[in-house]
Amino acid sequence: MRTLKFLLQKEFRQIFRDPSILRVIFIMPVIQLMILPWAADYEIKNIKLSVVDHDHSEYSRKLINKITASGYFELADYSNSYKQALHKVEHDEADLMLEIPTSFEKDVVKENKAKLFMALNAINGVKANLGGAYLRTIIQDYNQEIRLEWLQMPRMNIEPTIQITSSNWYNPLLNYKYFMVPGILVILLTMIGSNLAAINIVKEKEIGTIEQINVTPVKKYHFLLGKLVPFWILGMVVLTLGLFISWAVYGIIPLGSYLTIYAFAAVYLLTVLGLGLLISTYAGTQQQAMLISFFLMMIFILMGGLYTSIDSMPHWAQIITKFNPVSYFIDVMRMVVLKGSGFWDVRYHFIIMFTFATVFNGWAIWHYRKTS
């Protein structure tokens, strides 16, 4: 315990004397959170929509009105020919095609069920996919409205539904930044954590001070704990700063509890720092450590579900994401922030993250050699 006290004291002194660490910890999050959400903003307006309306009913017109009124769509074409609409998509004049069948109104009224057909232009996949998600949300909304309308009619007590397969627990129409900012915060925490931890020990290797530590009776888990604790605390500070910016700049307040976020981040940081320490036990130079950490981060970030939704990845990639700590935290963040999930809803995430933390830290301690 006393040994740990001296180790911690030393680490904190060194951290506070190193302006570059402080810059990374305080300035990087601020800048990234201010800039990235705008740069990585997929909130796309003017999605060109080609509508094929076979029904020409009041209901279909209402739906189209609602879609164009959302401000995200531009009616590129309105016809009753599927061929013509498809032609538009094929010539890149439309991103999205919506087909309303002949019996739309009738089906909604009589059968309480109606089908819509939607086709996406895969050339600008992001735009079309996002447009598709928006469209689904609007239709769902519309569905609610006609339900309400029907409910007011006393004779009808069965709610008409329009089938939509997607489960939209987040609402991209609301604000795309709600979706991106928590994810970027996770990436930030991951990069800062793993990089700082990885570089720190390797730096001691390069300077040679680690030899002086290795020749003392200090236990290796004490030494690694001495590295882990300060960066863990700094990580929590970065998280706080990030959450503050999310609120102050983007007005994001989690629907769920901050406590859940902090509790999960606490375990998550252990994982990330453990990974950093692990890298540092393998790397001989800071360049090597940076390179390994950069390589892993690339995979983690690209496959973390921030930019590409995991659901739309191929099966093999989905399996890889199961071993990606980043994807769990992004998931938890979005669940808590957007959906209001509580501790119990993310209990499996906790268990998995705890396992990650144990494995990485255990592995780092096991692989760290005081004697070569």
């Binding site: 006393r2 040994t3 006290k5 001296f6 180790l7 004291q9 030393k10 002194r13 060194q14 004397r17 190193d18 300077i207 040679g208 001070t209 030899e211 002086q212 530590i213 290795n214 020749v215 003392t216 009776p217 200090v218 005081k370 004697t371 070569s372």
Partner: protein, 245 residues
């Protein structure tokens, strides 16, 4: 008296390269043992094995009665080590370094307080105590580094070229410090490239290309090689070395 360091056919290979080749020697308690050899002879490699920092390839050795294969952590409790590369924390102050190393060796707060005061007075560092170690001249750093290595009163202190690059006056002062700790009963195991320093040792060994080629007191070595100075002895032996960089 029981030897504090015993090495028997101790070897270290790096792949096919034999850095240390079956060295055997004993060091008595309280002795100042000079470990000489040209660049690349294998001094640092041998010393790191004795300090429990590197596991030997073959042979046996005990340090302070502990085995260099299995009891490395026990060895570490009983030794001090000053590596060839300066390795105090340059971004910590003199006082902080002293307290840190004393602390992790388990000194009590009172010991820490008292020992750092004595040390600072002894080295005349009163005005530098609160300065970052990185800002000190090399000679001062080396003296500080040595004093920190013996702060916890180890049985043996290993010094790897402690006076490399230091001016003659400071080297003299450094050897005064070495004598002081030897007087306290601490065994000193020291490597050097300066032959005048070899004369200060009780016994010296001379390593050539990984093997110990000569081992005795300086007068006896001079006699053995019919030389006037240790310089000549060393030259006689090291001349044939192939590894010299």
């Amino acid at each position: 008296m029981q030897a504090v360091i015993k090495a028997d056919k101790l070897s270290k290979h790096f792949g096919h390269f034999t850095a240390v080749n079956e060295i055997s020697f004993e060091v008595a308690p309280g002795e100042i043992f000079g470990f000489l050899g040209a660049n690349g002879a294998g001094k640092t490699t041998a010393m790191r094995m004795l300090c429990g920092l590197s596991i030997p390839t073959s042979g046996t050795a005990t340090v302070a009665g502990f085995d260099v294969y299995k009891q490395t952590e026990e060895i570490k409790k009983n030794i001090g080590y000053m590596s060839q590369k300066f390795s105090l924390y340059e971004d910590l102050t003199v006082l902080e370094n002293i307290r840190f190393y004393g602390g992790i060796y388990g000194l009590s707060d009172r010991d820490l307080q008292q020992k750092s005061e004595t040390l600072i007075t002894r080295l005349n560092l009163q005005n530098e105590a609160k300065k970052l170690v990185g800002s000190l001249p090399l000679g001062w750093k080396q003296k500080l580094s040595f004093s920190v290595a013996v702060l916890h009163e180890p049985k043996i202190v290993f010094l790897d070229e402690p006076t490399g690059g230091v001016d003659p006056v400071t080297r003299r002062q450094f050897w005064d410090l070495i004598y002081e700790v030897a007087d306290r009963g601490i065994t000193v195991f020291v490597t050097t490239h300066y032959m005048d320093e070899a004369e200060y040792c009780n016994r010296v060994s001379i390593m050539v290309d990984g093997s110990i080629e000569a081992l005795d007191t300086p007068p006896k070595l001079k006699q053995q090689f019919s030389a006037n100075s240790m310089d000549e002895v060393f030259y006689e032996l090291a001349r044939g070395a192939k590894r010299s960089e």
